[in-house]
Symmetry: D2
Subunit: 336 residues, 4 copies
Amino acid sequence: MTSTKPFLSDNAAPVHPKVWEAMHAADSADNPYDGDSLSSELDERFSALFSRDCAALWVATGTAANCLALATMVQPHGGVVCHEEAHIEVDEGGAPGFYLHGAKLMLCGGEGGKLTPDGIAGLIDPIRDDVHQIQPHAIAITQASEYGRSYTPDELAALEAFAKERGLGLHMDGARFANAAAFLGANAAAAAAGPVDSLAFGFIKNGGMSAEAVVLFDPAQADLVKYRRKRAGHLQCKGRYLAAQILAMLEGDLWLENARHANAAAQDIASGCGDRLMHPVEANELFVRLSEGERDALRVQGFAFYDWGEDAARFVTAWDTRDEDAIALGKAIASL
Amino acid sequence: MTSTKPFLSDNAAPVHPKVWEAMHAADSADNPYDGDSLSSELDERFSALFSRDCAALWVATGTAANCLALATMVQPHGGVVCHEEAHIEVDEGGAPGFYLHGAKLMLCGGEGGKLTPDGIAGLIDPIRDDVHQIQPHAIAITQASEYGRSYTPDELAALEAFAKERGLGLHMDGARFANAAAFLGANAAAAAAGPVDSLAFGFIKNGGMSAEAVVLFDPAQADLVKYRRKRAGHLQCKGRYLAAQILAMLEGDLWLENARHANAAAQDIASGCGDRLMHPVEANELFVRLSEGERDALRVQGFAFYDWGEDAARFVTAWDTRDEDAIALGKAIASL
Amino acid sequence: MTSTKPFLSDNAAPVHPKVWEAMHAADSADNPYDGDSLSSELDERFSALFSRDCAALWVATGTAANCLALATMVQPHGGVVCHEEAHIEVDEGGAPGFYLHGAKLMLCGGEGGKLTPDGIAGLIDPIRDDVHQIQPHAIAITQASEYGRSYTPDELAALEAFAKERGLGLHMDGARFANAAAFLGANAAAAAAGPVDSLAFGFIKNGGMSAEAVVLFDPAQADLVKYRRKRAGHLQCKGRYLAAQILAMLEGDLWLENARHANAAAQDIASGCGDRLMHPVEANELFVRLSEGERDALRVQGFAFYDWGEDAARFVTAWDTRDEDAIALGKAIASL
Amino acid sequence: MTSTKPFLSDNAAPVHPKVWEAMHAADSADNPYDGDSLSSELDERFSALFSRDCAALWVATGTAANCLALATMVQPHGGVVCHEEAHIEVDEGGAPGFYLHGAKLMLCGGEGGKLTPDGIAGLIDPIRDDVHQIQPHAIAITQASEYGRSYTPDELAALEAFAKERGLGLHMDGARFANAAAFLGANAAAAAAGPVDSLAFGFIKNGGMSAEAVVLFDPAQADLVKYRRKRAGHLQCKGRYLAAQILAMLEGDLWLENARHANAAAQDIASGCGDRLMHPVEANELFVRLSEGERDALRVQGFAFYDWGEDAARFVTAWDTRDEDAIALGKAIASL
């Protein structure tokens, strides 16, 4: 890829220098698997970050993180309510069906990729309470959503109340959790996670290499996740290199700093989009109405991005997006 | 861990400098997942190494590598013949049951952790050919074995002939494949793999960080493994860092060089063990009869290792074992 | 249940006298499982019925029959295209997810519960051919459909051509296959099954007690189904009583005779429904627009049936529906 | 099969006349599935029989009954301790692996097919308490055992105490539970079941046609089993015919009467066997040392039975075994 102004995705960005540094610092031999001194710090560090007790485990992908967390809430004969465009439904190659042993994803609509109690009720209330129909066991939401929207603390509280009332677990796919937290501002981590039961906290798109965290706000569930992580072939023997990445990202709030940078770049672009924007920009993704000709024109100027259907484009910023590229893109779109 | 003379395992050793170097060289953004230029080289590089056509995919653990390969051969209602002390049976937390959707491991004895056609026939011939009994679909062997023994090319040929005759797949768990290859000598890779159908080629214990290779000698199976790898949450978005590790290990036969070093260190130790050795040393592991008192005496001298039952110890050398430590250990045992 | 004029469902009707008779005739001891002389006749009898080579196995429920047949076509990482109101999606408690080890049901719309090549293409053409998205492996249709509609031979031929072109299996859920066959008329079995790859041929709703047939038009698949049937706990040791039921239903075309009776009763009702009918009546189910008050009025007259949403009712006739009840119901609706 | 003196197995015996009678009595339409009046009686009838609160559900095979009960105790990543010759290990085609989503059977020796706390401790105590090794979640025993041995109430109490201490569930495979109960005598049902958590109560080998009972002594588990039964395709729509079979067997203790008859016939045979007996006869199975020539001699006299290895035979009596046949067999063996 030789594009000089890349907005394809944040998922292939380079690794942040401080992450590299921490990985190198972990290079001397230590106990294998998660018995090393770095992995042992995770519970405490995340508990401090969220100001509530939690257990945290590294894992190499968001797909595994989501599925392992869901396995604490969903029996094989149950279902998971998620948005019809949720990553777990659309882009994880059936991983939930595998990890949950055939449980079902129950698809719900919702503006901007976000679920609401009313929307979920509309889906699950008609389900007959009998053995012929799959019953929901959990709700999975994405923060920021697949359309770059962030759930507010109030929205999260309402979802949690609904989940409790219905006896459902509440999981958050946080592949871009940092971007949502950065958008929501003060007391960022706690605000963005709200009262969810579990969180797949993403670091890879935000400057990491190969480590996400499964955060369990009921630490008693950690045991199950540890057995299932091993069983899924996700217990790496040199786990200290994954722990090191995560700790480096937490250190000095690098995770927030990186996300703020990406979000700011997204706003720079947004400022040129006017009512071309299909969704408010609340993280680091933009969905912009652009004709084929307009997209061609941008590409000629060196901007790289994906088409989004016939008449739109998706732009994603990252921790390493150059300010000048984002500003240039915003201007280029404004000039179309 | 502060032991100055570590022989606990090779699974937590540092990462080789050339592997670090290759990972850094991969740091500029490239296509995500396995669409990058490094991942794209794997098929060709492994085909050259084995002098036969194969497909090769990276994955983060040997457990996942074994299970994904076995999934090309074993239906959920079938079984896998393996040694009763095989890693997939004893140390993978039930991963084969998960990845193979409930297929069974069928346990076979065998000297030194090695299977033979006769041994396998003794296990499977009594199985009635009816639906009440699980039928074997594949054989899994470990090279080098869990007791540090290496299968010779003749032994591998005999197993393959047996497998073909019975219509079974033949998979090789090569967590320490390099050590077996280094032991077997000339034309190492091809000799050590023999005519197996698939190989989990280990790099992590031998100087890598987080990348093993699934090698499929029927490249037509690659598609299935790719879908299953994604479904298992093992398709990392920055896969180029895994490909880089593997390519660095293959470059200039670093994999063999590292294994030769570890094997030589094992021989240094072995030379002091006499008939204390429980198994011939054909790779980088030693199983040595030592009383509790003798083990204590060694530990007092700074040697770190695991007990092996009541009356023995296991020593493992690695790519970074210091010659002087190995020689010292050999002498220390001889002096007991 | 003491209703004198029952139209709730055909799934709880009594067992036909000839079925009872055949079961009693099977009472002397014979080989267990499917080794008895009756079970051994099934392949031949169904091959004759369909005028093409097939294997046939008994199983106790349509749910198991559907899932076992689908398991011959669908890998755990694949999907099954079915109607969004298909029984396998809505009423089988997640059995496909269980039997297919997490494979996905891919939901398609279609008038009257029927799928069309165009409809399916609209669903699957947008699926990216990459490992992030689940790929379809098979299509499942229901004959007669969940709305009592029958696929014509031409429609079936078009679906098969489409399936072949896309490399998909084609399975037919025939819980009410007999009613479709009776509706389609001459050469009924072959016409109603068309060129599908497998059929769950229902007998229970049509006068049987506890036996459906899995019919595999590629007999080479029988082995897999036999292993999976046992593995699912569906290989009954006194299987001869199930074979006896099926053979009794085939004998003298009792299955068609019973279905014709039920269909005729459905037409008797339909004749009083006029444009209240939501779907053409092509089998033994009627979906009729009726207000709550109208439904109450019918129930006061002794008719038993289920509501269908707010403004409609579902009536099902069976092999034992009394003509006078059906005629009376038709008149009662006409008089509303 | 035309043998006049059949001792092959009890699994293909005819259906008892009282069972037929009860099935016919159930022929009028009732609610489908398990909503009928007969199915609704089961909980109460079994609670009375065992003098403790339980839930009971019908299912068509012992394989399904065992697996559904085990699913209340065993997570997919766990294991079930059972005898190495247990039916669930040797003769259920991998059903536990399917129903338990890949959980492992952990094989334990034990005289006469019976497990003991010491034997189990010897198996599970060496298991490391870490995620690399599968942990046991339950114990499964067979009453009467695969060698026709019955657990005494004391033995059961010891197993339950052990299970509780280790936090394991305790399941009983009761394919021939009636024969054990008849052997144990007074207060038969409660004595034979002891304090187990669940029981697969067999009726089919003892005069039934197609109904076993899953008995759950923690009735709160019934819900899970109901969902899983449906999901496994085992919820028959005309379930009343299964409930009728079971109720007929319980009525007037027909189940015990039938078993007593079979047991008595077994004793008639045993009385001629002397020290040819490989196991004490505590139910309705005999394992008798007989050379090939001796077996031939018996077969010439019209006795039908299975070889048991090279130098023995297995004889099974049933509810319909003719006294004169059993006596004749005992004499014939004595005369060899």
